[in-house]
């Protein structure tokens, strides 16, 4: 097994899937040179027909990906920063998400969108947002949020093979995270959560870049004999309710941690699920740790005060277990 970074994992998944299926192709802004390195080398390997730099025209090229998918190809479309999805909302939410249903199941919309989200230190409000919450109430999309290199590779490969529009959210701060990835074909199914650390006292459901943070807190609290189980849903749509609920059935306490805003986001959704279907298991309120309901500010101390972090995760866990 080789140690791989998050960005290398993306690159491997793209390379393998493009080798596997000649109808896949990559498009987006600066994918040839590749700002973050995820698509590096693809142009040299697969050539100009299958690796395309687009103009800066999100509504246009996202929409072109939708059309290309309807016509039977499998576009892998990069939206450089997740906030730029706002420029292409119609094509994602009104077209990609709805066309299969509205056509009575005729359209096959095999698109994978890849995008970078999250606060990464001074990128400010229009380049730091965690926007998947906005897509959770758009039926027809699948939402994938990998927390490390191995999941990144396995989930992205599954996303590319999926016949539905899937948005894969890659946290900008995870780019250099390193992990061993199993050799050979490595697929992680969409809709299957992972228990990243087993524990007894409290379940922490953490999403994306919050997973490594939750694991650190769990490690720290182990010294105080607080046993934390960390569950990573890995995909928000479809959501693996069973793994989350059976963890809560064991620990009787739940904290949901997300970098998105508190209101109307993924943490709200998962907390509601636990409250509704796991009520009988609970010894205390389901607690959410999420980012404040303000745009992500530029100044580092303000950014730090806004975004969910380890101190707040720890405080939420201690609050629930009472020590």
């Amino acid at each position: 097994m080789a140690i791989t970074t998050f960005v290398q994992a993306i690159n491997q998944a793209l390379t393998e899937e493009m080798e596997r299926d000649p109808l896949t192709f990559v498009m987006g802004e600066d994918v040839v040179l590749s700002v973050f390195g995820a698509t590096k080398g693809l142009y040299e390997k697969f050539g100009p027909t299958r690796v395309r730099n687009t103009p800066i025209a999100e509504a246009g090229f996202v929409g072109a990906a939708v059309g290309a998918a309807m016509a039977g190809t499998r576009p892998i479309c990069e939206v450089e920063f997740a906030s730029f999805f706002y420029c292409a909302f119609d094509q994602v939410c009104n077209q990609a998400a709805k066309l299969r249903y509205m056509s009575g199941g005729q359209a096959k919309m095999a698109i994978t969108f890849r995008t970078v989200y999250g606060a990464m230190g001074g990128a400010a409000a229009q380049h730091s947002e965690t926007v998947y919450g906005q897509f959770l109430s758009v039926p027809g999309l699948k939402i994938v949020v990998p927390s490390g290199p191995a999941d990144m590779k396995g989930l992205l490969k599954s996303a590319i093979r999926d016949d539905n529009p899937v948005i894969v959210f890659e946290h900008g701060g995870l780019g250099r995270a390193r992990e061993e990835i199993p050799a050979g074909e490595y697929l992680v199914p969409l809709g299957k959560a992972a228990v990243k650390r087993p524990g007894e006292d409290v379940t922490v459901v953490a999403i994306g870049a919050m997973v490594p943070k939750a694991l650190k807190v769990a490690e720290k609290l182990a010294a105080d004999k607080i046993s934390v189980e960390v569950v990573d849903p890995r995909t928000l749509i479809p959501l693996d309710e069973e793994t989350i609920l059976s963890s809560v059935a064991k620990t009787n306490r739940a904290v949901v941690v997300d970098e998105g805003h508190l209101r109307g986001g993924a943490a709200a959704d998962i907390a509601a699920l636990i409250g509704e279907k796991g009520f009988d298991f609970l010894d205390g309120p389901v607690t959410r740790v999420a980012s404040l309901d303000v745009p992500i500010p530029f100044s580092p101390p303000l950014e730090k005060a806004t975004v969910a972090d380890e101190a707040r995760i720890e405080a939420a866990i201690r609050g629930l277990v009472g020590r």
Partner: protein
């Protein structure tokens, strides 16, 4: 240049020097991580911001971009408060909430730099609409790049401004690249100014490194706009000397996307040197006068950096302020 008064000429030079020195310092400070976040500089492109804003009144408006320091300085932005914003300090223009890509000063008619490419075009169109609705004779100048001219917002805004004859000057700073992609590989026309024809408005190609030429074209466009003649598209041909974003070498590695010789060629067309040559050849401005401007600007800049360094960071409690009116 004989018809231009000397005070204006000295002002043009002063503004270009302020932009150049500010951005060279900002680049160096960002490379040392003293300034956080994404920083985009416009070194080599100073003439377009300067010439356009010199043609505006204090009561006129501008919209700017991610590469906006020059536009802001040219519209009257103070170096100390800009620098403080770049440092994320409470004394900055946006109390540290905005940073390099988001500086705004309504008192100066600066409706904002912007992190979203192409977002300024509809905003400028709306600002021009407000002048019509409110019965003011204000003009709005809208700065954007060649890359932004491929966004739908460019086309929608030009059409809207044309049919409503709005007082807006669309200023495309064509520096040859959008990030690392050469403009000609993603743009259907060589001269973006020709796109004006599709919307029935004047579209003019300007030497974007000649501040006097920019000033003249912008003055005509402003006069036309103020007289109810509607929008103009000015395309300022220029070149970005530095990387797209400060520090890009760190993640791009050796992968160059342009020839060093091309950069050197454009450096020979430096807008500041070009102006110096004009000015001295005209016999109306001395080298000593230019030197004095540079010395004064250096002192102003040093003071701005000191101000930014000494200013307090915002208190974390301020994070929830300013969200709603």
């Amino acid at each position: 240049m004989e018809d231009l008064n000397k005070e204006l000429l000295l002002d043009l030079y002063h503004t270009m020097v302020r932009i150049r020195m500010f951005e060279e310092r900002v680049r160096d400070l960002a490379l040392k991580n003293e300034i956080p976040g994404f920083v985009h500089v416009s070194i080599g492109e100073e003439a377009s911001a300067t010439g356009v804003c010199a043609a505006l009144r204090h009561t006129d408006f501008i919209t700017s971009t991610h590469r906006g320091h020059g536009h802001l300085i040219a519209k009257g932005g103070k170096l100390d408060r800009m620098m403080a914003e770049l440092y994320g300090k409470r004394t900055g223009y946006c109390k540290g909430k905005g940073g390099s890509m988001h500086i705004v000063d309504f008192a100066l008619g600066i409706l904002g730099a912007n992190g979203i490419v192409g977002a300024g075009l509809p905003i400028a169109t709306g600002s021009a609409l407000a002048a019509v609705v409110a019965g003011r004779d204000a003009v709005t100048a809208c700065f954007f790049g060649d890359g932004a001219s491929n966004e739908g917002t460019f086309h929608e805004s030009l059409n809207l401004a044309a049919v409503w004859k709005l007082p807006v000057i669309f200023v495309c700073e064509n520096n040859g690249f959008g990030e690392f992609t050469p403009a000609q590989t993603v743009t259907s026309v060589r001269d973006i100014a020709t796109r004006a024809q599709a919307y029935g408005i004047p579209g003019l190609v300007v030497n974007g490194n000649d501040v006097i030429e920019v000033y003249r074209y912008a003055s005509e466009a402003a006069a036309r706009a103020r007289a109810g003649g509607g929008p103009t598209l000015l395309e300022c041909k220029t070149y970005r000397w530095e990387g797209h974003v400060v520090g890009e070498q760190a993640f791009l590695g050796a992968a160059a996307y342009r020839e060093q010789a091309e950069i050197e060629e454009w450096k020979k067309r430096c807008p500041l040197i070009r102006f110096q040559q004009y000015a001295i050849a005209s016999g109306r401005i001395s080298a000593a006068e230019l030197k004095k401007i540079e010395d004064e600007t250096l002192a102003e800049l040093d003071a701005a950096v000191a101000f930014a360094r000494e200013s307090p960071l915002p208190d974390p409690a301020e994070v929830t302020e300013d969200l709603y009116a």
